[in-house]
């Protein structure tokens, strides 16, 4: 090994490397305390019958929690609800975000103002968004139902059939701006040459989009989807603010279930096992997406 690209190691180089490492130590300490310790602690608790109201009676039970999760219908329903939520929300966000990015790209002077306005929903705290929509969509008290009434529409937004989709729409309202932002960044980083070539060759807008824009954007799309998906998997605020997991179990997402079991029912061991199963699923998904990205990069 030639070490640092063939440079001769001077004493200055050694000192600066050592200084660098020293400066990183505080960050590592913080990471250790805030990240590594809780992660390992949760792993340990997931192997125990650990209840917050019975801390003097903690027992090691091995993989019993994990085994019981396999046959826990509430758990699988929560996973399914979360999956539906994520697929619906992220797909719509991608489509809308990309459409908006393409549209805004063509604007001339108003572009910056329009961009700033479009980003605004992202900056509102999610629980406030949840509470506001809870009342906006309220049949008796809200602003939206009377507007829909004008068109003869009566939608029971938080009834058993539509509640999960309504929450997904709220997510779309709040987070499409993030997708929009990432797509704008992606579009602006694309090389101009292929587009000029397409224009010279007389390609239609749709053709250009399908055969030039999309393929070039694919890495950016994959990253954007991954970022948003990881966030959407942890949906909690909208459920907590509006439906509490109901009606029935229609909107119980995995994060909300973990909260219920761990902090309302005090069964922290079981909740920790659920959290780790979620971690496993997320890591798998991330692995798949990273593999896709690698494949893109080498293609």
């Amino acid at each position: 090994m030639t070490g640092e690209q063939g440079h001769r190691r001077t004493s200055g180089g050694d000192a600066s490397t050592r200084l660098g490492r020293l400066l990183v130590l505080p960050l590592l300490a913080v990471l250790g305390a805030v990240l590594i310790y809780p992660v390992m602690f949760t792993a340990r608790v997931s192997l125990q019958d650990y209840r917050l109201n019975a801390l003097d009676r903690v027992e090691f039970i091995g993989l019993e929690h994990y085994a019981s999760l396999l046959s826990n219908a509430t758990f699988t329903t929560a996973l399914r609800n979360t999956a539906v939520f994520v697929v619906v929300a992220v797909t719509l966000e991608l489509v809308l975000g990309l459409a908006l990015a393409l549209a805004v790209q063509r604007l001339g002077r108003p572009r910056d103002v329009v961009r700033s306005l479009l980003l605004m929903p992202m900056f509102v705290t999610p629980i406030a968004v949840g509470l506001v929509f809870r009342f906006l969509l309220n049949q008796q008290l809200g602003l939206i139902p009377p507007l829909l009434d004008v068109f003869g529409l009566r939608i029971n937004f938080f009834g058993p059939d539509l509640a999960l989709l309504s929450l997904a729409m709220i997510d779309v309202w709040q987070w499409t701006p993030l997708m929009f932002l990432m797509m704008v960044a992606g579009l602006e980083s694309l090389p101009q040459a292929p587009f000029e070539a397409a224009r010279v060759d007389g390609a239609s807008t749709w053709f250009t989009f399908r055969r030039v824009t999309l393929p070039l954007l694919r890495p950016a799309i994959i990253i954007a989807v991954m970022i948003r998906m990881l966030d959407a998997l942890r949906v909690f605020e909208y459920v907590f603010a509006i439906t509490r997991g109901g009606p029935g179990q229609a909107t119980e997402t995995i994060q909300y279930l973990i909260y219920r079991v761990g902090f309302q029912f005090f069964r922290l061991g079981e909740a920790s096992a659920m959290a780790y199963v979620l971690v496993g699923i997320v890591l798998t998904l991330v692995g798949v997406l990273v593999w896709l990205t690698r494949r893109e990069a080498s293609a």
Binding site: L28, G32, N138, Q140, R154, T243, R244, G246
Partner: protein, 431 residues
């Protein structure tokens, strides 16, 4: 070279931190040094309370307390309900407590007592002259008792009652079937819903439905704590509740909780609701949410006569460093004289003597209100008491909501709720 040596070092550091987490946990809740200090040392007590009007009244009274007791200062942290329990648990588990004085909601009482989060108060009560502990309404008093030991004294009640528009409903029905017919009739004719219901999954639906359960002669548990929910009465009560929801509740109100129901009633969208008895003064307040409708509300016992009851109690944190000073405050605030002042200022009553005091009638909300509250408290029962009560409420509330949403039949919902309630009570943290 340097790099290769420091990598294993960093790795070791990471592993060390990780293993520390896996090792035996440090001793928890090391109680801070001994009992309260001498009464003359300056002491700062910290209290956690809920962000509700009753707390504002207490804050006023604290000023009087501090004037009388110069060595004691009280700092109150008022939080929304949803944040409180987590904060209390964190404080109870910490080596240094955040709070000395805790308000405890009745479903938490057994769990907190069993977890040693609270100090037993019997000795304090006996040692305080003129305290008259028996003067508290019996259901409220009993809420603070776990396995024969008193851990809390009543702060304020939130017993449920029927709140209704006296300009729409002449006389509140005392029979549940009458009430059901009445609200269905109102919904059928006017633009007004007969009642605003709160079928939100979990706590809210059970809090409301418990009154229906009692009206049909059912119960969650018997006197010995055995689960008695799986009964024909409970099934009838749930069927009736669902039928009334379909016939009389506002459209699309399946997920409604307290906020929606209150606004529906205050805004003239519904003629009645089953809600906390002290919502009456709030609704009739000319400066309050009801606007033009203020003054047109009345209160009565829930149809059927037996109400679900909730209540907050004062307790002293088990790991508090100043229990004596904490008791000095609590006993002062809940003493007959000061409690009377609290109720006159608008606080929800807890003492029978205060409820029948003519001065309170005059300066408070009138004789009818206090007599009604007295009648309610005579025959009211907490939603659930015992270990894991919170979980029991949530679990029953989940199945009730599943039934009204159509996910489960009434039969399935009741039998599953009863079975899971049994499990929750049985997998107890207590003895």
């Amino acid at each position: 070279m340097n790099e290769r040596r420091s990598q294993p070092l960093l790795l070791t550091l990471v592993l060390a931190v990780g293993l520390a987490a896996c090792g035996p946990s440090a001793d928890d809740t090391a109680a801070s040094s001994g009992g309260g200090g001498a009464a003359d040392e300056p002491v700062t007590l910290s209290a956690i309370m809920e962000e509700v009007p009753d707390t504002d009244i207490v804050l006023q009274l604290i000023e009087d307390f501090e004037a009388d007791h110069e060595n004691i200062t009280i700092e109150v942290e008022a939080l929304p309900f949803d944040q409180m329990r987590d904060r209390i648990i964190t404080s109870a588990l910490a080596p240094e407590p955040t709070y000395d004085i805790i308000v405890v909601d009745n479903p938490w009482m057994t769990d907190f007592a069993n977890g040693d989060y609270l100090l037993p108060l019997d000795d304090y009560i006996e040692g305080t002259d003129g305290y008259d502990h028996d003067d508290f309404a019996e259901p409220l008093r009993e809420i603070g008792v776990v396995d024969g030991t008193t851990y809390g004294v009543p702060f304020y009640n939130y017993a449920l009652s029927l709140i209704y528009r006296s300009d729409v409903i002449d006389e509140a029905p005392s029979d549940i079937e009458e009430y059901r017919q009445l609200v269905a009739d109102i919904s059928a004719e006017d633009d007004l819903a007969g009642l605003a219901m709160q079928p939100q999954r979990g706590y809210k639906i059970f809090e409301e439905w418990a009154n229906w359960l009692y009206a049909y002669g059912g119960s969650l548990t018997d006197d010995s704590g055995n689960v008695t929910l799986d009964s024909p009465e409970a099934r009838r009560a749930l069927e009736a509740y669902i039928e009334t929801y379909e016939a009389a509740a506002p459209e699309g109100s399946l997920g409604w909780g307290f906020d929606e129901a209150l606004r529906a009633v205050a805004g003239g969208g519904a003629a009645s609701m089953i809600s906390y008895n002290w919502m009456l003064p709030t609704l009739n307040n000319p400066d309050g949410d009801a606007g033009d409708l203020a003054g047109s509300f009345e209160v009565a016992e829930v149809p059927g006569g037996k109400a679900a009851l909730g209540s907050w109690s004062w307790a002293i944190a088990g790991n508090s460093g100043h229990p004596d000073a904490a008791w000095e405050f609590i006993s002062w605030l809940t003493s007959p004289e000061i409690d009377k002042q609290r109720v006159i200022a608008g606080g929800a009553p807890t003492r029978m003597s205060v409820l029948s005091d003519e001065e309170v009638w005059e300066q408070g909300y009138g004789q009818h209100y206090y007599e009604t509250v007295g009648a309610i408290l005579e025959d009211a029962e907490p939603l659930a008491s015992g270990p894991n009560a919170e979980e029991v409420i949530e679990v029953v509330g989940t199945h009730l909501n599943a039934a009204i949403a159509g996910d489960e039949s009434v039969d399935q919902a009741i039998s599953r709720a009863a079975a899971e309630a049994e499990t929750a009570f049985g997998q107890s943290s207590g003895g």
